[in-house]
């Protein structure tokens, strides 16, 4: 994220300074996504997906929507629809390139596994490598975003969300309520008609953009003044109580996943209602869980909380400020971590080391990018009117 003078003003004047909480929680979400993406990682028991319905994906998409509206909304107000849209599309292109780069690394990993691994216990599972036999089709389908390896579903979702964002942002800046209702209507129609994007070789996208756009647009809506409208409501003790009760309920249900014997305490009609909890289509239970988490977080961490300036939280904040780079790095590091488990050691100690080193690399890289950008901006030959880095700022 850049620090151009425009950034100090929110789109609808909701404050004079950048809300560091966004960077903080996006940074934490990136860490959690990284930990969850390393297969079998014992450290991932600390991540929120184990204690309720929603996970770090909701946080990431919500905050990305918020910052996208924040950055491109200002661009749209100042430079018009065309310029802002062009910047959004440029961002989508960057993410596409990043995704293809990660796919190349993925191919390298699996080609290695295909070459080196054999075990009669896993004859069936090794069939997953069959697609290496016709790489032409697979690579083409990957470029079309239809073939997506495990854990590489977030960036394609992000690309589609950005493609749909310019008209949505235009609407958000004029009549925010209509924009939010439109988004909710699309979400409902998606559930009603089972709209989805097909995947290759079969099935659909793991994150259905028609459903997940609601989280993104809701984030954007909060950025253009929605958060202020809700603030009285969010900060009421009654609301916090409801949120806490729901979180507790979700926690109880989540415990039955890990300790199935607790399942006897869940009446059948409850399990009939809640299951399946549909991640692909952003289940209402997940939305409610995310909202509860947000209400409680905002209650405990006010905007001007002094801790936000503390050096202890700086590592998360700096990661949140360079989310695309850090996200991609996290996907790569998760592959690398899995490689370490299979080739070197998969003992608990190694899980801790891989997790800690991975987060360390993410923080160091984010700091390096910050430094690099500040150097470029300070001594760069470009005139300041171009505002380098504006379009690629963490949206």
């Amino acid at each position: 994220m850049t620090e151009s003078p425009y950034e100090r003003k929110a789109v609808h004047g909701s404050g004079t300074e950048r809300d560091l909480r966004l960077d903080l929680f996006r940074g934490i979400a990136l860490w959690l996504i990284f930990l969850d993406h390393i297969p079998s990682n014992a450290v991932s028991w600390i991540t929120i997906r184990n204690y309720g319905f929603s996970d770090a994906t909701e946080i990431f998409v919500f905050i990305s929507g918020y910052t996208a509206a924040f950055v491109y909304g200002r661009a749209m107000q100042q430079h018009g629809f065309i310029v802002a849209s062009a910047r959004v599309l440029k961002r989508a292109w960057q993410i596409y390139v990043a995704h293809v780069f990660l796919f190349a690394i993925y191919l390298a990993e699996i080609a290695y596994v295909a070459h080196s691994f054999d075990n009669p216990l896993y004859t069936e599972e090794m069939g997953v490598l069959d697609f290496l036999k016709n790489p032409d089709v697979t690579i083409l389908q990957a470029l079309l975003l239809k073939f997506k390896p495990v854990n590489m579903d977030v960036l394609p979702l992000y690309i589609v969300l950005l493609l749909w964002f310019p008209p949505m942002l235009w609407l958000l800046l004029r009549t925010p309520s209509v924009a939010l209702v439109t988004s909710a209507a699309l979400y409902s129609l998606t559930w009603w008609f089972d709209w989805a994007i097909p995947a290759y070789p079969s099935g659909t996208w793991v994150f259905n953009p028609f459903a997940w756009q609601l989280m993104f647009v809701f984030g954007a809506w909060c950025a253009v003044g929605g958060a202020q409208r809700l603030s009285g409501w969010i900060n009421s003790p009654g609301m916090v109580g409801i949120a806490a009760a729901y979180m507790l309920f979700a926690f109880g249900i989540a415990m039955t996943w890990y300790f199935p014997r607790l399942g006897v305490f869940v009446p059948k009609f409850v399990s009939d209602i809640i299951y399946p909890i549909d991640k692909t289509n952003l289940d209402v239970l997940r939305i409610a869980h995310f909202l509860s988490l947000a209400v409680i977080t905002v209650w405990f961490v006010p905007r001007n909380w002094r801790g936000l300036k503390s050096p202890l939280l700086w590592p998360a904040i700096i990661c949140g400020q360079h989310s695309l780079e850090v996200f991609c790095l996290g996907v790569f590091l998760a592959f690398a971590g899995h490689f370490v488990f299979t080739e070197i050691s998969n003992r608990l100690f190694m899980h801790v080391v891989v997790s800690a080193v991975g987060i360390g690399i993410m923080v160091a890289t984010a700091a390096l990018i910050s430094w690099y950008r500040s150097v470029e901006r300070g001594s760069g030959p470009r005139p300041p009117s171009i505002q380098p880095g504006y379009a690629e700022g963490g949206a």
Binding site: M126, P201, P260, S271, D272, N346
Partner: protein, 250 residues
Amino acid sequence: MTGRVLLTLLVLALADPAQADHAAECRLGAQEIERDFPLPQVTRAIDAKQLHILVVGAGSSLLPGSSGAKNAYPARLEAALAAKLPGVAVQVSTDVQARRTAGEMVTSLPAALAAAKPALMVWQTGTVDAMHSIDTDQFREALEHGINIARSAGADVVLINAQYSPRTESMIALGLYAENMRWVALQQEVPLFDRFSIMKLWADLGTFDLYSATKKLDMAERVHDCIGQLLADLVFQSAKPDEPRAESGR
């Protein structure tokens, strides 16, 4: 998950350390077995001294080689149940074929059930669906449909989920399918044999090195033998919950 591993380690630390034999190896997975739902048809069949089980599955119910059928878990299940049920004629037949999704298995179910007339259908599925990323709604519908077909053919059902396969974990997203199987099992009140968690526990505890690359069959055979034994425990205890657990002698 980690909680359970720690719990197990604690149990082991407190227990008799002289548990080195193969049967004890298998026992480490026993706590993962749930016996929440009864198997009335199996109970009836045991009382009638004639228990016929049909195993429906895909590639992970098979072992390669000439003695594969003898060492794969369906045959081990038969042996273990026969040992637990003296005087009962236990017979396990199979409808197993590699690379089949749940939906594909359902199409051959009526014929297989009509031929075998089992009291219990053990249904192993989920891996191929995950590999082909079959739509999870379709996957759930196939499971529900298959369970209904088996029930109307007079058979109880036990579901078996995917194997834990650490090497291919970054290529097959089993999580979604495992969750969906758990939900269907809960809603249809069918016991789920959680093969994934059991094997994960074995890997975490070092019982079996599931990461190892080898062409040899010995580990695969021991894993299948353990699965057969634990499956027999599940069937026995779900069908005869009142009788003492027949594991002290093992």
